[in-house]
Symmetry: D3
Subunit: 248 residues, 6 copies
């Protein structure tokens, strides 16, 4: 099986981190391709940046999806998820929705830990858009100073453990989801210190992508999305092709 991981941030180090974590969770024989946004910002943290990342994600999918069995959005806002499902005929799964739905299979109400107060509303809106707001106990946002902090996650561990404890003890969460591509692998690393189950996105997404690829439900892209005789303008060749012909 071949999975495509698409990082909508332009930071290659995050893509590398995500790729390494994905390989911890794949079954034997699953291969991973991990690609990085070719335009946009280093780490998306606002709606503004996320809109641009949406275009970048679609562009990456149009360019690289061929030959893969499923795609994972390795950007924690599940950027352009619905659009991506309209673009491709393979399953596409967002890393955060993967963790949220898995959490729903483990506990009654999940707590959410996110990084950066600026992006908090993006996560809260994502939970609501997924229709899972009744399953969320609360969301704790941990402020981070810079991109560098993400890539040295050891500094964050104490804050995350405290937040997870508080979500379990005071807010009624019986499972905790930690959001962020840049902290991929944090759940497994911190679980030994905590009694509440921890989940993060990549591990859940990779396993669910394998499952969805196995299930192989009928999946049709929207196909010839624009009327014959007119054309998309100013987009990459691959994206233009998929938008016009629906051929993936």
């Amino acid at each position: 099986m071949k999975l495509l991981l698409v990082n909508g941030n332009t930071t290659q180090a995050v893509t590398d981190l995500v790729r390494v974590d994905a390989l911890r969770h794949t079954r034997p024989g699953t291969a991973i391709t991990a690609v990085t946004a070719t335009f946009g910002v280093p780490i998306v943290s606002s709606e503004l940046e996320n809109v641009i990342a949406g275009h970048a994600v679609l562009d990456l999918l149009a360019t690289h999806a061929r030959g893969h069995d499923a795609a994972v959005l390795a950007i924690s806002f599940d950027t352009a998820l619905t659009a991506a499902r309209q673009l491709l005929d393979i399953p596409v799964i967002g890393m955060t929705e993967a963790a949220l739905h898995t959490a729903c299979l483990i506990g009654r109400r999940f707590g959410l830990i996110t990084f950066g107060t600026r992006s908090r509303t993006l996560y809260v809106d994502l939970v609501r858009e997924r229709g899972l707001q009744d399953r969320m106990a609360d969301c704790v946002s941990i402020e981070v100073a810079s991109v560098a902090t993400y890539l040295e996650p050891a500094a964050l561990d104490k804050l995350v453990c405290d937040a997870a404890q508080a979500l379990a003890a005071d807010r009624g969460a019986d499972v905790v989801v930690i959001c962020g591509a840049a902290v991929a692998g944090i759940a497994a690393r911190l679980q030994p210190q905590l009694q509440v189950p921890l989940l993060d996105g990549i591990g859940c997404a990779v396993r669910l992508a394998e499952m969805l690829a196995d299930l192989r439900p009928v999946k049709r892209p929207l196909g010839r999305r624009i009327a014959a005789g007119v054309a998309a303008t100013g987009l990459s060749e691959n994206l233009t092709r998929l938008l016009t012909d629906g051929d993936s």
Copy 2:
């Protein structure tokens, strides 16, 4: 890996059907134990019967769970799901929630097909209790005459296909979940006739149970649930032991 399938109905033929379908979806090396309720009614179809099945499900889990890596509730009302999670230290997944959450990873809004108007409210309440009502496009209930009908599902296929088509064409569903232990395997059988993706419970539940067992999130039963020195009364030996000692 060893999975336990628990049928809260007393009909052995349903257990056999479920077991066969489960084996179609397990990975190589996964073994299935399938057990049938020792008390209750042949096919649960009302809240009244479902309350009794809840006790039967817990009794089966207390008796058979030891040595398994995860348990699947192979009764389509996900009977006693929360209680079961409180009872055991292995993952427990309901067959219908498994299909619903999988559907959320494939489409935006799922249609639901259920059998028997009498049990319709049980399903609608289940969706609401899972917090997924915003993801449900609509629920179509197909009336069935008897238990026998369930076990000869060919007679139902036309009705199910029509319902699935209508959910997709008129109600905005882009994925359809078919509920019912007694129709295990129907999604795969009918998919070739339909363009909208179909899911049913056992295939999703078995795959997700394997995934959850692999993830191995911390999982603690509630343990010594009643105060020391007092005791449960009139229950099976196994259930009494788990309720009193929390030892599974």
Copy 3:
């Protein structure tokens, strides 16, 4: 008039307490039968225990309902309420829903006081299932150490008064409901110390049961719930009879 009080806990002392409190509220000429679960746990405080109590409650109703004008579920989770209504042709009312609906006739938003953090989610889910979450100002859960504490309620009074004051002063509650069969009568006892109206379950339930029995709305049990020629298995004789014949 004859009312049946059904205690889904196995503690006879709670049944006795509930019976005494019920008699404070009945009209002249109303007789009370109070029965105790024959299997289960001393005091239900988790979903796990509540599932078992559901079976016990139905068994008690099947055994004792004949000859009564209405039944009251004297266990504060209103255990198996919908199932009980499907079982019998007399009105069945839960003690907590009775207090909640009465509260809605007195104030705009009720505060809830419950005992034991472990059972808190059971109460919150009950309010939601009853559709009354928009009428709830907040829920305060008071931790209790043991069953014994329940039966010596004087020790709880200060905590309850403080909680009621806080609900009224800070959370906008203009009426307070105190939950728990084991504290039956607490509302009347503490009302003199408080300016916000207090309600508890048994007093409301008994009065409403009398009212419903007087109103005598058409009420039909589901009747012959399982197909002719098949049978319930492993249940008490009375429950089997009602499930099979619908004859109460």
Copy 4:
């Protein structure tokens, strides 16, 4: 016990009808005072008319409540209910909320039958404001030609029976509430023709008013509602007195 029935319409014939129906439901020894709005419109059927009726209802309560144990708003929009509770120190209950909450104690989802499409939104908003929208299966509005139609309800019976049947058979209602002061008594009259339980407002309200008066929860009017030294202007003497002194 003395109950005050307040008709916010100016039609004396409706007051008489309501009074007669109330007396069918009171306990021995309960006396009824029934009063009619002194200003406003014959039969309220829009928000516009209902605002005026609100003032009229408060004026009647201020004038007549002294010496009564509870008050019933005998106008089916429960006009000025919250305001009335702020005005008086006796329980006040609306006829429609009485039927809705009683319905919640009998079934899972109630159907609503109302008269006049113009007033339909008033009823739907009332249900929502009471927080009971999740318990409503559907609302059927029957068009009526004139006030005279209300007072000769025989002509409506067929329409009401058909609507109740449809609510039960097609919309999942297991209890039906018929709204309208001008049809007081219709539930008892039509019940023999129907298998679904029927409720109307006055019977429920009178019984619940007796119950609330018996329970005698602490009840304080808001009292001296306007600052000392200022005064209400242009209102009736009784209303001015209550608004200024809080003395009922």
Copy 5:
């Protein structure tokens, strides 16, 4: 253009204040008529008083609306808004709904600042009735001692600024609405001290009233609201005429 401002309180000083603030926001050539309730209480602060104000507002509209292009309810509970729209054939806008909808065009979630804890529920219910509860971050109620306080708003400024800061910093509000006719103009006065956008009712309402009058959407009063041959009773001549003939 001619706008009618209707103050449902009986305090002329509030009407004067509102009139002055309105004139700061009107376009050149817009004339303002401002009228004061002829009955009721000096400053409405409870549902009880608001019901009476509803009648007073309708009476003022019936008396003064002729010749105006739009009406503004210059009482911050938007008292009798729906009824007013049914009464007149010109646009009617409530001062608080005007600020709330404007806030929705500026930010994602608005904070609400209100005066007087007694009236807090009136505002929260108004937001809910307008369907905007999902857009409200939180509501802070500032206690005020007397009517005099309202008319010397300088004393309130510090409290309001602190509340606005807290709503923006801690509750996620990105725009703040300050409610109350008696503080008309406070948003413009305090804006220089704050970085979060502030809005109050009159400025928004006057501008939106001009816009609606320009748009001139079809607008029909309900007209002959009561059946021919019957009549409203005990109301002012103007209100009676509009209720009976629908002639504005």
Copy 6:
């Protein structure tokens, strides 16, 4: 005053149409700049195309906003609205939200008319995201064959009138919003044929943009959105500058 109209579709004819309609609604002295997406698809009708249009809209705003007093998103999905507000320090308003909020000031529940079943979910989600779902009576989607149809709207008029009538008569809508940039001006054209008030987006948006520009609430773009020393990649010069410096 100068308003910027941003068309996220690449069809210049739509921009021209929108510009003409805008000029019908502006006040004397208001100038309009109307710009067209430089990349993307001719007419957006899916989430897929809308994600790309989001980038195009931001790019247009970054390039053209300087010197304008407010911006209007002249694409009926209000594409990238929140992001646009984060980008600029002038008010930004979406054409559809403008019509929806105006509708809320005219009636109680609006009906929605949209074109193309494929884009229906985009509109329903937009209403939900704006928090206005409780104000929507229903949404009717009219299928259109091609872009050409949009530009010859006469062919659509009968369908739109029928839909508006149905929404008013059967679904309880008392105001109707017609969505779509390509039908700009349709509300004014069809209003003479209908008794229910009609609104469309551009007229409302232009007037509200003028109002917001006049109100001049504090408005700060997010500013230096990415950490100093790192840079956006592969974006237009103008967008890069705003993302990096927050200088508009």
